[in-house]
Amino acid sequence: MKKLVIGLCALGLTLPTLCFSADPVKIGMITTLSTKAGYLGEEIRDGFKLAIDQEGGKLGGIGVELLVEDDDAKPEKGKQIAERFAQKDGVKIMTGIVFSNVAMAVVPKIIKENVLYLSANAGPSDLAGSGCDPNYFSVSYQNDNLDEVVGQYVTEVGHKNVYLLAPNYPAGKDHLAGFKRFYKGNIAGEVYTKLDQADYAAEIATIRDAGPEAVFFFLPGGMGINFLKQYAQAGLNKTIPLYGPAFSFDERILGAVGDAALGVKNGSQWTHDLDNPANRQFVAAYRKAYNRTPTLYAAQGYDTARLIGSALKATGGTTDLAALRTAVKKADFASVRGNFSFGNNQHPIQDIYIREVIQTETGFTNRTVKKVFTNHVDTYAKECKM
């Protein structure tokens, strides 16, 4: 009797797989869903899922199965998840990592194991230059791009000296270096604060005393919120303009900061008001599905999904990596950013904009001010041997 029951259960479990005529292509998403930065992973995942839902469970006409796991912003955990996806679930396409330090722990190893990785956010310089690989694509940007565009804009606007602020860790130094690469004026000061520092009163007082024409800062997440609020309370937002990459100015952060960020100009490759058909339908569909305005992370997730869809359509759903790679590199899809193609290091060649924080009836968001770079190539492309 017992054997009969077990036998029936086993049959019942195998039935669903027997019903599928073709296995869906598995896509592994390793992203950050917990910690304070958890909403970044949520946005990427929701943008990605929107593309799948729009095609009824398919991308490019081929059935896909999205596996999502939380890496907790920890490199070791990201590595474990990637290994499990590759070995246990047989996943050939992976995406989703938010943080560059997690990406550096996961990507170099996993792309050697016959896996295609498309980055929906993290774009560390190591993987854009000498560490480039045929199996690695960045669909979002190279990390420095968003700072380079601000450096260029600040030079064009004519600020003669700028004060720099970032946390004291590799990404902080990289972002300031990106700004300095394109900023041609004077650096009034370059301060590195403690990672996760909450109170910036001391730094703000020093800025007030130094009296620069502008301040460029990279303070992601809660650090940025604290700094923006305190800067406005000190009254400096009226006298010394702030600039930064888009990372401190997505809609969720703006909701937490209120009008302290009004008027701040930030650099981004995407804003919700970019006027092209793909973006208009994306923003409308996202708002309808999730009841909020998408952030740039959601746009990146959506673009990654549609890029994968275009590749799957071209190859007919095969998981042969060489064919997929060629199809992905063509980037034959309508990006919500408009102009999009891959460079030799498989990082985007795209337009980058300066946008400004504004207030609307629905809350705080960004408005595109100017296209500063057209078809911008990242600075590490020349170091890549591909």
């Binding site: 917990s34 910690t35 304070k36 958890g38 909403y39 004291n168 000061g189 370059e190 301060v191 590195y192 604060t193 403690k194 996760d196 520092q197 909450a198 109170d199 009163a201 001391a202 730094e203 007082a205 020093t206 007030r208 005393d209 809660g222 919120i225 604290n226 609020k229 305190q230 309370q233 000190a234 009254g235 969720r252 952060i253 909701g255 937490a256 900061v257 209120g258």
Partner: protein, 304 residues
């Protein structure tokens, strides 16, 4: 010169916030001999309840009252449910249990309020800067924080020195059994002390809300500073908490503010900036080590 005064005020403001946190923590450790790692969670609860009430009613005063009441209530519940069973146990057990509480509260906050940081407005009247001296502008709100902290310190001193309950608390920290034998309800006393500590932390939290981001896990960073304060000041002593808090607040702020410029006179600019960044984050720990070498029990150790 004006910069020095402004940084001095910043250090004072940080010191006051730390004092509010450490007063409660040092009392709990001194009187009840319990290491309470979850103290930062009361700070977080105060900030969250305050932010929510402020958003609902638009009144900062109501938010403050609600925050303090909520933190005190949660503190009492935690004392009754969890800490009461830990008094007789080893410190390691207490650390483990209260560490578990940290994670519990972080997750609870996430479940109730979500992961997004909350927005809390500085009350309208205090939203500007005022001119203290010609050329010296300082955010009014931070001055208010300094003022409130001093008031609280005064209130605590009055309570401990002049009231009966304060006397009982002080007695209970010297000799718990004797006080119990004298007919004082020690259990109730401990719950009250713990609730008071939690209320102070909640007050610190709601006052920090407009300046800092109200997010899950916001208690951890200030908790570390608070422990440094009570170790420097002497565990169990309110005087030590005041001294330690002001010292840590000043050293941390002035270090961050002036180390870069000081180092730039000796080293090249780029090196000076990196060294200054590392040194200023280490400054308070170096201070703590130096003080412990000089006075192992802290600056003003409690007696008994």
């Amino acid at each position: 010169m004006l910069l020095v005064i402004e940084q001095f005020l910043n250090g004072l403001q940080l010191g006051i916030t730390l004092f509010l946190m450490s007063a409660g923590l040092t009392l709990v450790f001194g009187i009840m001999q319990v290491i309470n790692l979850a103290h930062g969670s009361f700070y977080m609860i105060g900030a969250y309840v305050g932010a929510t009430v402020a958003a609902l009613t638009g009144s900062f005063l109501l938010a403050m009252l609600a925050a303090v009441a909520a933190a005190a209530a949660v503190g009492c519940i935690v004392e009754i449910l969890v800490l009461r069973h830990l008094y007789a146990r080893q410190h390691l057990d207490q650390v483990l249990a209260t560490f578990g509480l940290i994670m519990f509260f972080n997750e609870l906050i996430r479940i109730i309020w979500g992961r997004q940081p909350l927005f809390m407005n500085v009350p309208g009247a205090l939203a500007k800067s005022i001119q203290l001296l010609p050329g010296l502008h300082y955010p009014t709100y931070r001055l208010a924080v300094i003022g409130s902290g001093l008031l609280v310190a005064l209130f605590l001193w009055l309570m401990f020195a002049k009231t009966k309950i304060g006397m009982q608390i002080r007695a209970g920290s010297s000799n718990r059994e004797m006080v119990g034998a004298l007919g004082v309800n020690i259990n109730l006393l401990y719950t009250l002390v713990f609730g008071l500590g939690a209320a102070l932390a909640g007050l610190a939290g709601v006052m920090a809300g407009p300046i800092l981001s109200v997010e899950p896990g916001m208690g951890e960073s200030i908790l570390i500073l608070t422990f440094v304060v009570i170790v420097i000041g002497g565990i169990g002593s309110i005087r030590g908490a005041v001294a330690g808090a002001l010292l840590v607040g000043m050293v941390d702020t002035l270090g961050r503010a002036f180390l870069p410029s000081i180092l730039r006179t000796i080293l090249a600019a780029a090196t000076a900036d990196s060294v200054a960044a590392s040194l200023s984050s280490m400054a308070i720990y170096i201070l703590m080590a130096a003080i412990l070498v000089w006075k192992p029990r802290g600056l003003f150790p409690a007696h008994g």
